[in-house]
C-alpha cells in the first residue's frame, strides 16, 4: 500500500474512512493483476477438490473442459450463429446469465462507491421480478412498447424504493446497511414465496396445484434477438444491461451526483465538511443501487429466463444478488471491471451448472452439490483477494526497509 497511484486523496480518506472505502482502496491499488491471479488460484483450488473427490486428476481436467464447453466458450473455435450448434446455444445461455449479473454487480458496486455494502441485491432483484410479473400479467393486451416500458420502469423504481428503506434507516437512525439489507432480503424472500405459492395472489390461475406464477402476457415480453422466441433465447435485455454499464460510469464520473456519492464514499466527514449532504447521498446511492438490481429482476422476468414465470421453488435457489457482490469485488467496483466480472461469473455459473450437470464426468447425484462447492470456492477466493494483496504487500515491506519515514505510518493505517 505504498503507492496508491495518481490520486493521493482516496488514501488519506480511506485512512479515516469506512471499512468499505478501505477495502475498495486496497483493491484498486492492486490493479488488474490481482483479480486475474485470484481467479487462477481459485480454479486451481477447485481443481484440487475435484481431483480429490473423484480420485483422478484426469477427471478434474475433463471437468474443467466440461465447464468451458458448458459455458459455450468452445464456440470461439468454430463460431456460428446457428443455435442448433450446442456451443452456440450454450453461449447464448451464458450471455443471458451475464445480463443479470452485470446489473446485480453494478448494484453492489454503486453502493460500494458510496461507502456502503449492499447485501440486499437478492431482495431487490425479487422486488423487481415480482412487480414486473404482476404488471406483465395484469395489463395484458397493451401496446407492447408501452407495456414493456411500464413493467421495467415500475420494477426498477419499486426495487429502488425497497433499497431506499435501508438508505433511509442508515441516514436517519444509523442502522447499519449490512443488517438492514439482509433483513429486507428475507422479507422479500417470504413475500415472494407467499405471492407465488399455492393460493397466493400471483400464483398460476390455470394450474392451481403448481406453485409458480402466471406467464407474463405476450405484449410484455422482451423480443429475442438470438434464438427462437419463447425458447429462452438471448433477449434485448443484454443491450439494456450494457447501456446500464455506460449509465453507471457517466453517473459516477461525469455528474455532480456521482462526485458527491464518491466523496461520501471516500470520507463522509470530509464530504460533510465540504458542504455535501451526506444523509441525502446515502439514501440516493442506496436507491440507485437497488434500481440496478430491480432492473435485473424485471429483465429476467420479461426476457423469459425462467419461461416468463417464476416458481416458489426457484426463490431459495436464486443467488444472483449475492453473486453480484463477487462480481463487483472482482470488477473493483468500476463499470468496465463489473462487465468483465459478470462475463466471467456468467460463464462460470452456466458452464459449471450445465457442463457438469449434463456430462458423465461426475456422478449425477454429486454433480449438483459439487458444482456449488466449486462456485463457492471461487467466490471465497475472489472475496479473499484483499488478503492475498495484504500478503504481497507485507512481502514487499519485509524486503525493502522504509526509505522515508512517512510510508510505514500510511501502510499500517491503510
Amino acid at each position: 500500500m505504498t503507492d496508491p497511484g495518481p490520486s493521493p486523496s482516496p488514501e488519506q480518506a480511506a485512512a479515516a474512512g469506512t471499512l468499505a472505502a478501505r477495502i475498495a482502496l486496497k483493491q484498486r491499488a492492486g490493479g488488474i493483476l490481482v483479480p486475474v491471479v485470484t481467479v487462477v488460484f481459485a480454479l486451481v483450488m477447485s481443481g484440487i477438490v475435484l481431483a480429490a473427490t473423484q480420485h483422478s486428476v484426469h477427471t478434474a481436467l475433463v471437468a474443467f473442459q466440461e465447464i468451458f464447453d458448458g459455458a459455450g466458450l468452445n464456440w470461439i473455435f468454430h463460431p456460428t450463429t446457428n443455435l442448433i450448434d450446442i456451443s452456440a446455444y450454450n453461449l447464448s445461455q451464458t450471455l443471458l446469465q451475464t445480463t443479470t449479473l452485470i446489473l446485480t454487480g453494478l448494484s453492489v458496486a454503486f453502493a460500494f462507491r458510496c461507502g456502503m455494502f449492499n447485501i440486499g441485491g437478492q431482495g431487490q432483484y425479487f422486488v423487481g421480478l415480482v412487480v414486473a410479473n404482476w404488471l406483465g400479467v395484469d395489463f395484458a393486451g397493451m401496446n407492447p412498447f408501452a407495456h414493456i416500458l411500464l413493467c421495467i420502469v415500475a420494477g426498477t423504481l419499486a426495487a429502488a424504493a425497497w433499497a431506499g428503506i435501508a438508505g433511509v434507516l442508515k441516514a436517519t437512525v444509523g442502522a447499519h446497511e449490512v443488517i438492514s439489507t439482509i433483513m429486507l432480503n428475507w422479507i422479500a424472500f417470504w413475500v415472494a414465496s407467499w405471492l407465488f405459492g399455492a393460493g397466493g395472489p400471483l400464483q398460476n390461475s390455470t394450474q392451481p396445484t403448481v406453485p409458480v406464477s402466471n406467464q407474463v402476457s405476450s405484449s410484455a415480453r422482451l423480443p429475442d434477438f438470438w434464438g427462437a422466441q419463447g425458447f429462452q433465447g438471448v433477449h434485448v435485455g443484454l443491450f439494456i444491461a450494457l447501456a446500464a454499464v455506460v449509465v453507471f460510469w457517466v453517473l459516477l464520473n461525469r455528474t455532480t451526483l456521482g462526485y458527491e456519492v464518491r466523496a461520501v464514499g471516500f470520507n463522509p466527514d470530509a464530504a460533510a465538511y465540504g458542504g455535501i449532504n451526506v444523509k441525502k447521498n446515502l439514501v440516493r446511492a442506496m436507491a440507485i443501487s437497488g434500481a440496478f438490481a430491480g432492473l435485473a429482476g424485471a429483465l429476467d422476468m420479461l426476457g423469459g429466463t425462467t419461461n416468463y414465470q417464476f416458481g416458489q421453488l426457484d426463490i431459495p435457489f436464486s443467488q444472483v444478488g449475492f453473486i453480484g457482490i463477487a462480481v463487483a469485488l472482482l470488477g473493483r467496483n468500476t463499470a468496465l471491471g463489473t462487465l468483465f466480472g459478470a462475463l466471467l461469473f456468467g460463464s462460470l455459473l452456466y458452464g459449471s451448472f450445465h457442463g457438469l450437470g449434463s456430462s458423465a464426468v461426475i456422478q449425477p447425484e454429486l454433480a449438483g452439490n459439487l458444482t456449488y462447492i466449486i462456485q463457492g470456492l471461487i467466490v471465497l477466493f475472489i472475496g479473499a483477494d484483499v488478503l492475498i494483496l495484504y500478503v504481497w504487500n507485507s512481502r514487499k515491506k519485509l524486503r525493502r526497509p522504509p526509505a522515508n519515514p512517512a510510508q510505514p505510518a500510511k501502510a499500517t493505517a491503510a
Binding site: D3, L61, I86, F231, W249, F310
Partner: protein, 356 residues
C-alpha cells in the same frame, strides 16, 4: 475511475514494484496459457458418452437435483438400471432452477435422446414446448397425467395409484390406534391437491374397513418444505386424540413424524422409505418412482410406447407399496394388511382416489 484504475498496476514509479508485478504478470499469463492449452487439448476429443450405442434415454431432474430425499434420486436409479438392462445409454441431467429446464431439454435433444423423461410436474410446461417442437422424440413425465401436458401423441404420463399404498398403511394405523386405546388417526397433508388427496382417501377408506369406527383427522399445511408447519399440525391432531400421524407433505411432513415420535405416538412416512426420519415410524407408503422410470424406458425401447396415454403404476405391478414395518407391529396385523393387498390386486377392493 473506470479505465484509469485498471491501469494502476502497470504504472508505478519505483523499480522494485515493477519487477514484482512483472513476475506476477508472467505467472498469470503462463497460468492462463496453460489452462487454455489444456482446454483445447481436451476439447479436441468428443465426450465419451456421445459414441455409445443402444437406446438413449434422458432424465431431467427438477430443481431439487438428484441428491434429494428420494423423488429424483429414485428416478435416477430406475434410469440407470434400465440403461444397464437394455445396454443403452442414460443421460441424467441436473437442474438447479427453472432457467435450467430449457437448456437441459435442449441438451437432451442434442445428445440424440430417443426418450426424455421429466422428473416431475414442475417441468410440465417445458416438456410440452419441446414435445410440440420435436414430434419424433418421445417424452414422458413422472407424476402427471398426459392430459396436463397437452396430451400429444409423443407424450406419456407416468402415474401412480397412491390410494392403494395409502390403504395399506391405513390398515396398520387403525390397528395401532385401536391398541393404544383411541380409535383416532391423523393426516398431515401438504396442499389439497389430487396427488395428496389420493393417498389420504385410500388411508381413510381402509382404516375404517380394518377397524370399525376409526376416525380420521385431516389438516393441510399449505406447504411442502417448512417442517414447523407440519409439526404444529401433528401436535394439534394428537391433542385431539390422534394416535398415528400419516404425513403427505414431503419435507414438511418430516416435521410431523418427528413431532409424533416426541409425543410417543406413531408416524407414517410417504413416497420414500422414511424409516430413519424419527424413532417411532410405523411404516411408509411408497411411490416407487424408480419402478415407473425403469418400466417406461424398457417399454419405449421395445417399441411399446403408449403415445398420448398414461402408464398406471399400482400394487399389482409393484409401482406402489409399503416400506419397512416397525418391529412393534404384530404378525397378525401384517397378515390382515396382506389380505387387503391381495384383494386390491385381484380387483375385489377398490380404494377411492378422491377424498369425499
Amino acid at each position: 475511475m473506470g479505465l484509469g484504475s485498471l491501469a494502476i498496476g502497470f504504472t508505478t514509479k519505483q523499480g522494485g514494484h515493477v519487477r514484482v508485478r512483472r513476475w506476477m504478470l508472467a505467472a498469470g499469463v503462463a497460468a492462463i496459457a496453460a489452462a487454455i492449452a489444456v482446454g483445447t487439448a481436451l476439447g479436441s476429443g468428443k465426450s465419451p458418452t456421445a459414441q455409445k450405442a443402444g437406446y438413449r434415454a434422458a432424465l431431467v431432474s427438477d430443481v431439487a437435483g438428484f441428491n434429494d430425499n428420494g423423488f429424483n434420486k429414485n428416478q435416477l436409479k430406475g434410469l440407470q438400471k434400465a440403461a444397464k438392462a437394455i445396454s443403452g445409454t442414460a443421460f441424467p441431467i441436473v437442474s438447479h432452477s427453472s432457467s435450467d429446464y430449457q437448456p437441459n431439454y435442449n441438451q437432451a435433444v442434442h445428445d440424440n435422446a430417443q426418450l426424455i423423461i421429466a422428473a416431475g410436474f414442475l417441468l410440465g410446461d417445458t416438456m410440452k414446448q419441446y414435445a410440440t417442437q420435436y414430434p419424433n422424440i418421445k417424452f414422458a413425465i413422472t407424476d402427471d397425467p398426459v392430459s396436463a401436458v397437452g396430451g400429444l401423441k409423443n407424450e406419456e404420463g407416468i402415474t401412480y395409484a397412491t390410494q392403494e399404498g395409502g390403504c395399506l398403511v391405513g390398515v396398520l394405523a387403525a390397528k395401532m390406534a385401536q391398541k393404544m386405546g383411541k380409535k383416532i388417526i391423523g393426516v398431515a397433508g401438504g396442499l389439497k391437491i389430487p396427488p395428496v388427496d389420493s393417498y389420504i382417501a385410500g388411508y381413510k377408506y381402509c382404516a375404517a374397513k380394518a377397524v370399525k369406527g376409526t376416525k380420521v383427522k385431516i389438516q393441510y399445511s399449505g406447504d411442502f418444505n417448512d417442517q414447523t408447519k407440519c409439526a404444529t399440525i401433528a401436535q394439534n391432531e394428537i391433542n385431539q386424540g390422534a394416535q398415528v400421524i400419516f404425513q403427505v407433505a414431503g419435507l414438511c411432513g418430516d416435521g410431523a413424524l418427528k413431532e409424533a415420535s416426541k409425543l410417543h405416538k406413531w408416524g407414517i412416512g410417504v413416497d420414500a422409505d422414511e424409516f430413519k426420519v424419527a424413532n417411532r415410524i410405523l411404516t411408509s407408503a411408497l411411490k416407487k418412482t424408480d419402478v415407473g422410470v425403469y418400466d417406461t424406458v424398457l417399454g419405449a425401447s421395445k417399441g411399446k410406447f403408449k403415445g398420448g396415454k398414461d402408464l398406471l403404476f399400482n400394487l399389482k405391478n409393484n409401482g406402489v407399496g409399503v416400506g419397512k414395518i416397525s418391529k412393534q407391529v404384530p404378525k397378525s396385523w401384517i397378515t390382515l394388511m396382506n389380505s387387503f393387498k391381495s384383494k386390491i390386486i385381484h380387483g375385489k377392493l377398490k380404494p377411492p382416489a378422491v377424498l369425499k
